[in-house]
């Protein structure tokens, strides 16, 4: 049962494996060096793997630890991650709450709204952790999860997306760092001798000055003392907070369900338009309807001569072109169009020129400018 023997046992040791006696079957690590301990998140009672196999293989059974009558299933037994089972339990609960409360700060309109949301989340976690109104909290949590199922899954998808992006980013950074390191190693080798020299000099200096090491120790002690004091103060504060929360546990039971308030409105991208093969440029003639046949003796041979027809020459294209040419320009009123154009231009210029004469001069200049531009093109 010596420590050295255990460490010779198989594989790396997990936090839960330090105990040497199984509380259920009392078997010892001395007899079974491969012993592993498992816990069930239902009650977090620890027992060895062979006990789990023995008791729960036939299906759900009651926890064999005296005073705990919870029904456990073999499937949920697992090795613990943390040494302290309280922490193990807290992490489990937090993870469970976080699956329902998975909004980001960026989803909220104000910081206050986000903080209120975090408050709700923390109250639920605290209740489950400390066993305050567990049933009510569980009910509210389930209702909350059901009500916000859509947004929760959307948030999940978003989180996965950012995570993959982050992974890619870190991978790129690592690669960059590796390249930088490779470059730096060369520089390091060069400066190594120099640094060693400096180090040796420093040691010599310390050896010559006898008082200095003592001073350093004192300094170190002071700093550790300061650190422990700060930690104590923080612990005290935490305890006070917990007490305050314990004094008002009923706050959360007042409203029936957790509500997310102050969320930014979700803007969905507009649905894609149907694909238009013509690219929105198809047009139909307004002033005439194109017919598939126009009678004219001149065209008769073009309709029948195999030398023309067999090559694919299509009179309909000719009809189309002549009709368009015949009706071209109908509905175009150049005076009106140009007048509107001039007016638009004139309004823009008026803001800058005060007198009528100046406006006319400016218009002339603009005309000249336009003419010059047309000349280039």
């Amino acid at each position: 049962m010596s420590r050295s023997m255990q460490s010779n046992g198989a594989g790396p040791r997990r936090p839960g494996d330090r105990e040497d006696i199984c509380p259920v079957c009392k078997s010892t690590r001395y007899l079974n060096p491969e012993m592993r301990f498992l816990v069930n998140p239902e009650c977090y009672h620890k027992m060895c793997e062979s006990c789990v196999d023995r008791i729960f293989s036939q299906g759900p059974a009651a926890c064999p630890i005296a005073g705990c009558a919870r029904t456990l299933r073999k499937q949920r037994f697992r090795q613990q991650t943390f040494e302290d089972l309280k922490i193990e339990r807290e992490v489990d609960i937090r993870r469970r709450v976080a699956t329902a409360f998975n909004c980001q700060e960026s989803d909220f309109e104000t910081l206050l709204a986000y903080n209120n949301y975090l408050e709700d989340m923390e109250v639920a976690t605290f209740n489950l952790l400390q066993g305050v109104d567990v049933d009510a909290t569980e009910r509210k949590l389930a209702a909350f999860a059901a009500q916000n199922a859509a947004s929760i899954s959307a948030n999940n998808a978003k989180a996965t997306e950012t995570r993959t992006a982050q992974h890619a980013h870190t991978a790129a950074q690592k690669e960059q760092a590796r390249l930088n390191r490779a470059g730096a190693t060369r520089a390091d080798v060069a400066s190594m001798a120099e640094r060693e020299e400096a180090h040796r000099e420093a040691i010599d200096a310390v050896a010559n000055a006898k008082d200095e090491p003592g001073q350093k120790v004192v300094l170190l002690k002071k700093s550790t003392a300061r650190r422990t004091a700060a930690e104590k103060a923080r612990d005290k504060q935490r305890q006070q907070q917990q007490q305050q929360q314990l004094q008002h546990p009923g706050d959360s039971t007042d409203h029936e369900i957790y509500k997310i308030q102050g969320l930014k409105p979700v803007i969905h991208p507009p649905p894609e338009k149907a694909y238009d093969p013509f690219g929105g440029m198809a047009h139909t003639p307004v002033y005439y309807t194109l017919q598939s046949h126009y009678e004219h003796p001149w065209l008769d041979r073009a309709r029948t001569d195999p030398g023309i027809v067999a090559g694919g020459y299509d009179l309909r294209e000719y009809y189309h072109r002549t009709m368009l040419a015949a009706f071209a320009g109908l509905g175009c009123f150049i005076d009106e169009e140009m007048g509107e154009k001039e007016k638009g231009r004139g309004e823009g210029d008026d803001k800058m020129v005060a007198t009528e004469g100046a406006a006319m001069a400016a218009a002339a200049a603009a005309g000249a400018d336009r003419a010059a531009r047309r000349d280039v093109l």
Binding site: F278, A302, P306, G307, A310, G312, D314, E317, R321
Partner: protein, 345 residues
């Protein structure tokens, strides 16, 4: 006023410069400087230059290269100021089999843009007559732009003959190979069909070395043109009598599905309508755009998500200096001689 910055490429036909606008140096343009070919055209401009200027300045469409301005420099050269399209052409994307992967949605997006460009030309009564992947430039935003109007002409009046020596051979329709002098917009639709097939296969679909070989390939892959499937075909100027025993009936849908299955049955239906032997049975460019393939699944990829390959300014220079109807020398030379194992799979 645009300022020429550096030379992008030089060919026998034109020199291409990268330039910028004097007023706004951030706006880049390509300046195509037509060479005065003293041997061939003793007086006046080349036909290509006239055609290019004539039609490009009329057309303004997102899928057709924009002609900003035309000016002449000191030795009476003609300079075209064109939209600068830095991302190469569709041929580069098709040829880069290892580097670029695309699917039906991307093919549909590119074909959709090509279809719009061709339809717009036809709607304005212009035949492009040189549609091929390396005349389809890619703009910085992924938009495909139809360029090189050096062989374009407007629709002919009845009884007016047109040249049949147009359109790069691999993309030339059977009626032109058979010497038809009266044809319509459906010649461009055939070219579109071969580009569609090339986008799917990722190699030129019908790559004949000579006009006769090209016709043989069409007979083999599409069907032999005879009076039964193309009334009046034997009256065309260069019609060849095909051996009675060697006649390939028009390929059915199963054959196309086995070769172009990735386009799906609806896509194959469109491809077949574009590659119909008889130009009268072929879809017009309007009918192509009215096909239900465009609105069926998958939806065409948005242009900003289309695969891109940095063609760079040099590639644009390379493309613009060519004369219409040419096959780049490096490409056509070895195609037939090289054994193509990819077709056997």
């Amino acid at each position: 006023m645009p300022i020429a910055d550096k030379k992008l490429g030089e060919g026998t036909y034109a020199v291409v410069y990268l330039g910028h606008l004097k007023a706004d140096p951030k706006r880049l343009v390509a300046i195509k400087k037509m060479k005065v070919n003293t041997a061939e055209w003793r007086d006046g401009l080349t036909m290509d230059a006239i055609r290019e200027v004539k039609y490009l300045q009329e057309l303004s469409h997102p899928n057709i290269i924009a002609l900003h301005a035309v000016f002449s420099s000191k030795n009476q050269n003609l300079n075209l100021v064109l939209e600068y399209l830095p991302l190469g052409d569709l041929e580069m994307l098709i040829k880069d089999v290892d580097g670029i992967r695309y699917g039906t949605a991307e093919v549909k997006a590119w074909m959709g843009m090509l279809g719009r460009a061709v339809w717009f030309c036809h709607e304005n009564f212009i035949l492009h007559r040189d549609i091929k992947p390396n005349n389809l430039f890619i703009a910085a935003d992924g938009e495909v732009k139809l360029a090189d109007f050096g062989l374009a002409r407007s629709f002919a009046d009845p009884y007016r003959i047109m040249s049949h020596q147009v359109i790069t051979r691999w993309y030339r329709p059977p009626e032109l190979l058979l010497g038809a002098r009266h044809y319509a917009g459906t010649v461009d639709v055939w070219s579109m069909g071969t580009v569609f097939a090339e986008l799917i296969l990722r190699r030129p679909f019908l790559a004949g070395q000579t006009d006769v070989e090209q016709l043989e390939l069409i007979c083999q892959w599409i069907g032999t043109p005879v009076e039964e499937n193309w009334p009046g075909v034997s009256k065309l100027a260069d019609y060849i009598r095909f051996d009675k025993g060697n006649i390939q009936p028009i390929r059915g849908k199963e054959f196309f599905l086995s070769t172009f299955g990735t386009a799906g049955p609806v896509g194959v239906d469109l491809l077949m309508s574009m590659l119909a032997l008889d130009p009268r049975k072929r879809s017009t460019s309007r009918q192509v755009l009215e096909h239900k393939w465009w609105t069926s699944e998958p939806r065409p990829t948005a242009k900003e998500h289309l695969p891109k390959k940095g063609g760079g300014p040099e590639k644009m220079g390379e493309d613009l200096k060519r004369k219409g109807g040419e096959i780049p020398a490096s490409r056509g030379d070895s195609v037939a001689r090289r054994l193509d194992f990819s077709a056997m799979r």
